[in-house]
């Protein structure tokens, strides 16, 4: 079956990504940087010294992490790859991505562990600024070991008419994941935030906030969370409409076994009578009928569950 090869494919993909990466950092070593025309890529600490204006985005003087400044339209996809390789390593990054007016970029960011048993720590504080009319499609992949602790904390600022598609996918969950995402949308900007993952033996806390600050802003938050093997997942999602704007929150959880727990807390805050914000939330288990149906197509129980879960995450 094709699914048996997923792990190998992922490992190969990780290797390819690290080879392709425009910014590649292992542990806290000096990064390997591959510049692209029209884009300036630096370690954050160098950017802090070189550009005074970056200080308003970095909360404090950075030690590690990347600075990417997109000044001209790139011709290819931008890749970043940040990995853990050493036992008990602690990685704290401050990343800043700035995309100038009307430029369109695709970013594939991978954060992973190179070995499953490192007991590592990865914290990333990211700021992403999309200037007027800028468009960003960001695929953010996380793949961790069972004992890792991971804390991504990302903030997106979308200026007038900017557009964001942010897909955060957890391929392999850490022991603890504490994730914060904040999106602030200015006039006529729009964002799709998709957070999806299958969590096993993990404690996961997700907090995502979408602020529709100015007129014409619109955004959708979509969560697809799968709990397996004693996982505890809690997700608190909020849309705050401060002006005439539209927002939708779609949170869905799927429990694979009885030992896991999912808690979804959607919240809508409306501060403008012209805003339209809606939400839907549901948590379900694997349908026994669907499982038996797939088994009667020749898939064993594990393969059938995988197919149902993959379908749920893609939905």
């Amino acid at each position: 079956m094709a699914m048996k090869n997923v792990k190998n494919v992922r490992e190969q993909t990780d290797k390819k990504l690290s080879a392709l990466a425009n910014y590649y950092q292992i542990d806290n070593k000096a990064p390997k940087i591959c510049q692209l025309k029209g884009i300036e890529i630096l370690p954050s600490k160098i950017a802090w010294q070189k550009y005074n204006w970056t200080k308003k985005y970095f909360s404090k003087k950075p030690k590690h992490g990347y600075f990417i400044w997109v000044k001209e339209q790139p011709k290819s996809v931008l890749f970043t790859c940040i990995s853990l390789a050493k036992k008990n390593i602690r990685q704290t990054l401050q990343n800043l991505l700035v995309v100038e007016n009307n430029l369109k970029i695709e970013l594939q960011g991978t954060c992973n562990t190179l070995k499953r048993n490192l007991e590592g720590f990865h914290k990333a504080i990211g700021k992403i600024v999309l200037k007027e009319g800028a468009v960003l499609k960001y695929e953010h992949i996380h793949s961790w070991g069972e004992k890792d602790v991971v804390q991504p904390d990302y903030e997106f600022l979308l200026e007038k008419k900017a557009r964001l598609d942010y897909n955060y996918k957890v391929f392999s969950s850490p022991e603890k994941l504490k994730m914060k995402t904040l999106l602030t949308l200015l006039e006529s900007s729009s964002a799709n935030l998709n957070i999806m993952g299958k969590f096993s033996q993990t404690k996961t806390e997700i907090k995502d906030t979408l602020i529709l600050k100015e007129k014409g802003a619109s955004g959708i938050i979509k969560l697809r969370l799968v709990g397996n093997k004693k996982s505890q997942i809690s997700a608190y999602s909020q849309i705050r409409a401060k002006s005439e704007s539209k927002g939708h929150l779609d949170c869905q959880g799927l429990l694979i076994d009885e030992s896991s727990k999912i808690s979804l807390i959607p919240e809508l805050l409306c501060e403008s009578k012209k805003a339209q914000i809606t939400h839907e939330a549901s948590i379900g288990k694997i349908s026994e009928e669907a499982l038996n149906y797939l088994r009667m197509r020749g898939l064993n129980e594990k393969e059938a569950i995988n197919l149902i879960v993959n379908g749920f995450l893609e939905k």
Binding site: E288, E289, A290, N292, L294, R295, M296, L299, L307
Partner: protein, 241 residues
Amino acid sequence: MLLEIKNLRARKDNKEILKGINLGIKERETQALLGPNASGKSTLAQVILGNPKYKISQGKILFRGKDITKLFPEKRVKSGIVLAWQNPPAIKGVKLSQLLEEISVFKGSISTFFRFQKIGFQLINREVNVDLSGGERKMSELLQVLALKPKLVIFDEIDSGLDLRKIKEVAELIKKELLAKNISVLLITHSGEILKFLRPQITNVIVDGKIICKEKNYKKVLKTIKKYGYEKCKKCQRANR
């Protein structure tokens, strides 16, 4: 004998549904199973395929001489029995093409194979059993059946909810892809509409969890049921004579 069912009794939630079924299907044979609502037709199909929802309390199921009564559903499918469901459940987010790739025994060539099938081409990019019309659902089941290269196919109400033109279309496909390739078929049907296109060699009637009639002339059975209903079959009990 390809499939042999001996004195099969099965229950669901402590309610006995099958009350001593005896049925034999030979290789290259087409049989029909007719019966009123809630007579046990679909249950029999599900029990043959090993749905764990049903518990077998007595009897045996043999396939190609091997006892499969306790096998997992996936093992039964691999040995060659496939069921086309009456009401298949939705598998959201999974395209039919993905499912076919996963289950197909024709590795690597399944998409190409189905692209040549006029009807399948429209379906393979849709989610499995999500928002499909009655006809599309039946066709999706048929495509999955073909992908599994079966030796025996059980069609559970393949003709229900279809107009006569569609039934003929489905029947032609069954003829071309299964009967012409000497694959055995059991047609479970309430209305019996499809039988005139596929002409089963034996027609069985099930009432209240028991097969009470086995008849070679399907027209005779259909005529009797149409004229007098299943009450007449209960009185006749041809299988028990």
